[in-house]
């Protein structure tokens, strides 16, 4: 009982930290009278960063638990580049409609996800095989996206921003779709938390805990795949945040219990992404580099973490 209380306290203190950071991102370090237009943009951007972080963090926790694989997130499984590729194809043939883009991205993201899972299962289904299949699918779609990015440069220079994801393009138009995405993802949490815990034990045991593992795995994967694709369609490739956040949460909570890990992963991810975006937006600008994409900063921090995971787990095991 007391242990669970500690975990709830941790959850709420990180939530408080998130709100404080939101406040800081909006008001600290700026002149007394900020142009209302600037203020509005900043407000939009901060809200959208938090929503995107929330969706990516929860999605990462869903993917890791449902695939019983600590090494995956939407980026590694190829969902991100699949979504990006389909978005570019769409932009090539029409102009940007912000309401249609998410749906286009979902088609691409889920296709890539399906490809990765199929290949991974054929070559053995271990967690390493998911990473390997992901690398292949990822490279294919990322390569295609890069090629397309040159073709659409003339048509829409802003689309280039999606290659290294960032929030420069934050627009008030995105707010409603993002809020809806976050709500749907959070709404699946009460249904999925316990089955996802059971899924960690392996399929045979899931049946006799009373859940059909295929049904719940599919629900979790599709939810994660769909809504991380939505994020990609607006802000581009933001890798590793969905990989790192569930692990940080498990470490802080000292448990793998998804009833705690999933919400905390959402909060941690939002917090990290917001801090990263603040760095991208202010610090780098102030030291004269100019704004850098938040996606690159996340990758610079996240990729070594990924390498650390592999090192700690597979040292001397793979030959």
């Amino acid at each position: 009982m007391t242990r669970d209380t500690h975990r709830l306290i941790l959850l709420f203190s990180l939530l408080t930290a998130l709100f404080l950071t939101i406040y800081a991102s909006l008001f600290i370090g700026s002149a007394k009278h900020v142009n209302p237009l600037v203020m509005e943009y900043r407000y939009t951007r901060v809200i959208e960063v938090v929503l995107a972080g929330l969706v990516l963090g929860v999605s990462g926790a869903y993917l890791q638990s449902s695939l019983r694989n600590p090494l995956v997130d939407h980026y590694i499984l190829g969902i991100g580049s699949g979504a990006l590729f389909s978005v570019y194809i769409f932009i090539l043939f029409s102009s940007i409609y912000y309401l249609i883009l998410p749906f286009v991205a979902i088609v691409g993201g889920l296709t890539a996800l399906f490809l990765t899972i199929t290949i991974a299962e054929i070559i053995g289904g271990s967690d390493i095989s998911y990473v390997l299949a992901g690398i292949g699918v990822n490279s294919l779609f990322a390569g295609l996206a890069h090629l397309l990015s040159y073709l659409i440069l003339v048509k829409n220079p802003y689309a280039l921003y999606l290659l290294a994801g960032g929030f420069t393009l934050a627009s008030p138009d995105y707010k409603i779709p993002l809020i809806i995405s976050a709500i749907i993802v959070l709404a699946t949490y009460p249904f999925l938390a316990k089955p996802l815990n059971a899924l960690l034990l392996g399929d045979e045991l899931v049946y006799q805990i009373g859940y059909n593992p295929r049904y719940y795995r599919l629900l979790a994967i599709i939810t994660a795949g769909m809504f991380s694709s939505v994020i990609v369609s607006y802000f581009g490739l933001i890798g590793f945040i969905g990989l790192v956040s569930p692990h940080i949460s498990r470490f802080l909570l000292r448990t793998g219990d998804n009833r705690f890990v999933i919400p905390l992963s959402g909060i941690v991810s939002a917090l990290l992404l917001l801090i990263t975006d603040d760095l991208a937006r202010s610090v780098f600008v102030n030291i004269g580099i100019g704004e850098v994409p938040a996606g690159s900063i996340v990758a610079v921090i996240g990729a070594p973490f990924f390498l650390f995971l592999i090192l700690s787990r597979y040292r001397g095991v793979l030959h």
């Binding site: 960690l200 034990l201 392996g202 045979e204 045991l205 049946y207 009373g210 793998g256 787990r313």
Partner: protein, 260 residues
Amino acid sequence: MIRIKKLRVKYRYVDAVRDVTLEIPVGKVTCIIGPNGAGKTTLLRSISKIVKFDGEIYLDGLEVSKTPLKTISRILSYSTSVYLPDLLSLKVIEVLKIARYPVSKRFFETRQDLEMILRTAREFKIDNFLEKKLSELSSGELQRVVLAMSVIKDPKYLLLDEPDSHVDVSNKAELINILKKLAVSKTIVLTTHDVLFASIIGDYFVLMNNGKVVFVGDRNEFFKNKKVLEETYGTRFYDVKLGGVLVMVPLYVLEKYGNS
């Protein structure tokens, strides 16, 4: 009572179980024995609705294929060895909580659930490493955790798939004690490779070979029909009385090396 009628399970092109008709009595320890690939595990998995099957299985009158998983999961436990990936590895206490899901009504465990978990943990002597990760346990400890998981929701039937695998000789006696204690209140159905082990704890025996049931009967009949057992395994068996209990010892050792 578990009643099985004309059960047939197909894996790709092979029938893992064919034409099995069988009744498993309540309140007894039923041992399903047979060589590798005989269909023992598949039989248990069909009863627990883990694999798809043709034919009918009645669990206390409920037809398994038409009963929702939730209901079945409250009546029986199917247990087999667990493997957890390192980095996602759960602690013993968490695994026990998960095993309690079918009967715990709330999103979080109630006081009753936790009490039941602690009581069971003490019973199986696993209460001193509840905070350890599963990946850190010895195979003997893990085996006790697996058994605790299967009883924590207090089911009527325990279906144990090779509970004695990975258990060395020194721990087998303890396993037998645990199973005997459980048998007082539960109906146990288990599969095993070890005929000696089965003959010590079994009240009722099902012998399978190539997906078919070749013998069903209680202790008396089991020892009387030694011949079927010998034919199935291609090995001679010797029944000895040990401490007042008749047990069945395979003589593969004598057969191979005994005559020289």
